[in-house]
């Protein structure tokens, strides 16, 4: 599914990621844990193609294609989804019409006709209720004035609507209270499948208690310093990153 080879990434001339290699197979859930400022979010943005992050060397294969040759929208259309740590506000754009547009652009890419209004509404209702999102949120402007929790739920809703095969969750747990964390995690767990892989970026164990990872990687100063299974996460939780 995803194969990152000796990746080096700079932001404004400063090297953030150093010789990172990581393989993610179909259906696997990888957690990347690390302290603040270790470069975790840089991985997420680099994978999604944010132009502010410059890949200085290395390769990324995504479903046997060269990911680094694709622009952000091409990456999205080939099935890569990033749930943002800080979702961006789009004033004047109603959430419902935005969601419909992103659904349709993926349908078009797959050769499908635009979704009927009624069908879309039905789908939106069903997927919103799983996340305890009230329907009136969709008549508001995208993320504008949303609470931290609402923004994160809206990210997971988009994930659910777009059916990606690689999901990168960038600190989706931050800003969520316990109830929201629960419903969000449940929704994510329902989306786990043998064809969909996850990279979950977090610095707390909390989220991993709900979404159980297959692999845990400890990330520090731009590289993975240790990999293991879920027990590694527990170790970090009790002993901290400086263990």
């Amino acid at each position: 599914m995803l194969n990152i080879k000796e990746l080096n990434v700079s932001v404004e001339e400063k090297q953030i990621i150093k010789d990172l290699s990581l393989k993610v197979g179909s259906g696997e859930v990888h957690a990347i844990m690390g302290p603040n400022g270790s470069g975790k979010s840089t991985i997420a943005h680099t994978l999604a193609g944010n132009p502010n992050y410059e890949v200085t060397s290395g390769k990324i294969d995504f479903n046997n294609e060269d990911l680094l040759n694709m622009d952000p929208s091409e990456r999205s259309l080939s099935g890569l989804f990033l749930a943002f740590q800080y979702p961006i506000e789009l004033p004047g754009v109603t959430n419902a019409s935005y969601l419909k547009q992103i659904v349709n652009v993926h349908r078009k890419h797959n050769g499908d006709k635009p979704i009927e209004a009624g069908e879309f509404l039905k789908m939106l209702k069903e997927k919103s209720s799983k996340l305890n999102i009230p329907m009136d949120m969709h008549s508001r402007f995208v993320n504008a004035g949303f609470s931290g929790g609402e923004k994160k739920k809206n990210e997971v809703l988009q994930l659910d609507l777009l059916n990606p095969n690689l999901v990168i969750m960038d600190e989706t747990d931050s800003g969520l209270d316990v109830d929201a964390l629960k419903s969000t995690s449940e929704a994510v767990n329902q989306l786990r499948s043998s064809k969909r892989s996850f990279i979950i970026i977090t610095h707390y164990l909390r989220l991993l208690e709900y979404i159980e990872p297959d692999y845990v990687h400890v990330f520090q100063e731009g590289s993975i310093i240790e990999s293991g299974d879920k027990s590694l996460a527990n170790k970090i939780d009790t002993e901290g990153y400086a263990y």
Binding site: S73, F84, L90, G92, L162
Partner: protein, 480 residues
């Protein structure tokens, strides 16, 4: 996103740039008394109309074109313009659509304005003005039944002289300023609308202006009178062929709303903007003014300005009647080398008068976009209120946006609120939307349409969707 550098432009986005191959009957170039007499004769006008024009021309000779606009252009040689052009052999306006030259029908069809009534947008009556003449007006009979007059102004001058004489020049005086006076001397065609007392016009009225002939100026004149307790919604659209020359469009539009009347006037202006090097395009120097003459009357201007090399206009309201209301909603988009200096004037004369100004300027490429506005409270305008909001959005870093709001207040107990913002489409916004699968241009479109939403939602339903698309097309190529 990095593949195309910012500020690269594409051509051929102006899909209305074709020329209709139809011979035109032009009078000689130049501006003098004989030309004005000839125009009047072509139109078979009564003597009073000719006298009115000649008076305007006399005054014009003592005036010179204003220079204060924030736009650069060479002086216009007013003797080097054709002031009248009509399709050849077009003596009388055809009585029915069957008699209209098929080439003209085809032209409007291509522009998305089918004139055959069975094809026409439901609920919209259209007057089609081609160069200097109106070539067709739809749904006239239906409007006649309820007493609504909707016809070319040249026809109104002959058939409804009392109304025209009473109101023509009553809002924009003959000597207002150079271009308005020029229009008064040489105006060719435009629409006349009269809504009788107590009538709510059941359909949108719309005029579609097309410049076709080269080296020709278009001098449209539109007059709309809404009698007591009436309502009308009117929309104008405009396009022109792609040419290397600059062509002048100097229109005068006058609106009069009597007691309790409401006029909603919408413009979707898409004149040829010139090419990506700033060659060619229309000079759109237009005077639009509405008079809220009666108490409780209301005039609302909505404009979407995407075309023209230079746009220079301030649709304004004179709030004379007590409790009258004026509104101005504007989206002005400039790309490449386009220049826009536009805004409004709200002149509060009556008590409890209210005005609302929402202006959205979007600049891309190397363009310049200026909001210029005046809010004036006369000393008798007790308890007058204004709200102004001017937002500018910059695309790329080679364009400019300017806001010049002016307030004159002689009334003690009035209130003015003013808000202004300037923002750039952020890379974060583009990246976020692209991460969901939209292309850079689609992403920009969704963000810009969000920015314009407050204005676009004021357009009649049938046109709001078109306007949204137009907003996207106008900015194509401006994002990397």
């Amino acid at each position: 996103m990095n593949k195309v550098s910012k500020d690269t432009f594409k051509q051929d986005k102006y899909k209305y740039g074709f020329v209709t191959d139809i011979e035109s009957d032009k009078i000689p170039k130049g501006l003098n008394e004989d030309i004005i007499k000839l125009i009047s004769k072509k139109k078979d006008e009564p003597q009073w109309m000719l006298d009115w024009r000649l008076n305007a021309f006399k005054r014009l000779q003592q005036m010179s074109p204003p220079k204060w606009v924030k736009a650069k252009f060479d002086d216009i040689d007013f003797q080097d313009i054709y002031y009248y052009a009509s399709p050849k052999n077009f003596k009388d306006k055809p009585k029915s659509l069957e008699d209209v030259d098929p080439k003209l029908l085809e032209t409007y069809e291509k522009l998305g304005i089918p004139l055959k009534e069975q094809k026409v947008l439901a609920g919209v009556a259209v007057d089609a003005v081609f160069d200097s003449v109106s070539v067709a007006t739809t749904f006239k009979d239906k409007l006649d039944e309820i007493g609504v007059i909707f016809c070319p102004i040249s026809e109104a001058i002959k058939k409804h002289p009392d109304l025209v004489r009473k109101y023509l020049g009553s809002v924009i005086p003959v000597t207002d300023h150079f271009y308005a006076t020029l229009n008064s001397a040489v105006f060719s065609d435009g629409s006349f609308v009269y809504i009788p007392k107590g009538v709510r016009c059941p359909m949108e009225l719309s005029t579609y202006f097309r410049i076709n002939a080269s080296e020709t100026g278009q001098f449209e004149r539109t007059l709309i009178v809404a009698d007591e307790d009436s309502y009308v919604s009117y929309l104008e659209g405009c396009t022109a062929p792609m040419r290397d020359e600059n062509q002048l469009h100097a229109a005068n539009v006058e609106l009069v709303a009597l007691d309790n009347a409401e006029i909603k006037y919408s413009t979707v202006q898409n004149w040829y903007p010139g090419d990506e090097n700033g060659i060619g395009g229309i000079y759109n120097f237009v005077t639009k003014r509405g008079l809220c003459k009666g108490n409780n009357s209301k005039i609302s201007w909505t404009q979407v300005e995407t075309g023209s090399a230079i746009t220079w206009k301030y649709p304004s309201c004179i709030l004379k009647g007590d409790n009258s209301k004026g509104e101005f909603y504007s989206v002005a988009i400039t790309n490449n080398f386009q220049q826009a200096d536009t805004g409004t004037k709200m002149i509060h004369l009556g008590k409890n008068t209210k005005s609302r100004i929402i202006s959205k300027g979007i600049s891309a490429g190397k363009s310049s976009n200026t909001y210029r506005g005046l809010v004036n409270f006369h000393r008798k305008a007790k308890n007058a209120k204004n709200f102004t909001q001017c937002d500018s959005l910059l695309v790329g870093d080679r364009c400019s946006a300017h806001t010049i709001p002016l307030t004159e207040n002689s009334s003690n107990d009035s209130s003015i609120e003013h808000e202004a913002t300037t923002s750039k489409i952020s890379d974060d916004q583009l990246f976020y939307v692209m991460q969901r699968g939209l292309s850079a241009e689609e992403a920009q479109g969704i963000i810009v349409n969000g920015f314009c939403k407050e204005v676009l939602q004021n357009l009649p339903m049938e046109f709001a969707v078109e306007a949204q698309k137009l907003v996207n097309i106008s900015l194509e190529g401006s994002v990397g």
